[in-house]
Structures are given as C-alpha cells and as structure tokens.
Symmetry: C2
Subunit: 101 residues, 2 copies
C-alpha cells in the first residue's frame, strides 16, 4: 500500500462523505469512475496545482483515491474495490445520484 | 413548505454529502431514520444547544431535514420523500453504510 492512504478498515463513512461533499471533488469522482486512472495534471484541467493539492489530500486521506507517483507525474485512481468492500452499494448509489444533480 | 428549506429540485448532492460528512450529523440521520420525528432537545442529548444550532442549519439548508416549530419546541424529521425523489436509492445506501462504520 502507498503511504498516507488509510487501510480499508480505516475508511470512515463520514470522511468519504465529507470528501465528496464538494462539487469539484464530486466531479473528480465521476471522471475517475468513467475513465479510470489519470494523471493529476489531466484531471485538474485549468485549476491551479496548489488548489488541487488540498483536494487530492482530502480525497486520499478519506480513502476515496489512490495517488501514486510514476516518473514526474502523480497518477490518481478510484479505490473502488476498497470502497465496495467497506460499504457495499454506496459508491454505485453515489455515482447514480451524481448523474442526477 | 417551511421557510429556509430548499425545495426538492434545489437539493444538491454535494450539500447533502457535506451535511452528512460529520459523525454527529450522521448519527442524527440514523436516529431520525429509526425513530422518526423528534424534538431538537431530545436529539441533542448532552450537546450544547448553541453547538447544535449550527448542525441544524447545515442539515436543514442541505435539504436533509425538516425543522418545524411546535409551541416552544422545534421538531426535526428526515426529508425522506424529497431525498428519495431527488436521488433514488441514495438514502438507503447511506443508512446501510452508516450501520457498517
């Protein structure tokens, strides 16, 4: 496991909901679910790198994403297996709801 | 409809998730789902009234609860119908996940 990522049993519902209780982080969740692993730079688009550092930390610390360094890039992916194991059905319900907002 | 409560179509997923991304507010959700409408005083238990004013506002503004005055009390209930209509299946998935934390 990468450093600074909670283990599956350490993932807390309130932290996951807090992490996704933000329009930008919710959009990142949708992008990761639809397109799989992507680089930080690809995901952030026009948003400043320094702004995103905070968002990556919230998503990573809550257990929503993996963040792994590859060369000079950081790659981001959804921890779907961990989330599905910890809270069965929740991620799908959230993704369905996100399409309805 | 009571004042200061969003209409169903105004309920935003990110606001609902933010509202529930807190252990105390998540516990209130569970209590309302299990026991139905309750007074603010019954729900807050030992927690200071002033602390709870903030939490009621977050839950109300996000569309998670109804708050209605009856005599000198405020009664709180879950906006289950509105949430189910806006985001079908989400509330049940959240309540199931909440029992697993």
């Amino acid at each position: 496991m990468l450093e600074n990522h909670p283990q599956p049993h350490e993932i807390k519902l309130e932290n996951v909901l807090f992490a996704l209780g933000n329009p930008l982080r919710l959009a990142i969740l949708q992008s990761l679910a639809q397109r799989g692993e992507q680089s930080c730079n690809a995901l952030r688009g026009e948003i400043a790198k320094s702004t995103m550092t905070h968002h990556w930390r919230v998503l990573r610390d809550s257990g929503v994403i993996w963040q792994r360094p590859v060369g000079r890039e950081n790659l981001i992916s959804l921890r779907r297996d961990c989330l599905d194991q910890r809270f069965p059905g929740l991620l799908d319900a959230l993704l369905t709801a996100a399409t309805q907002r």
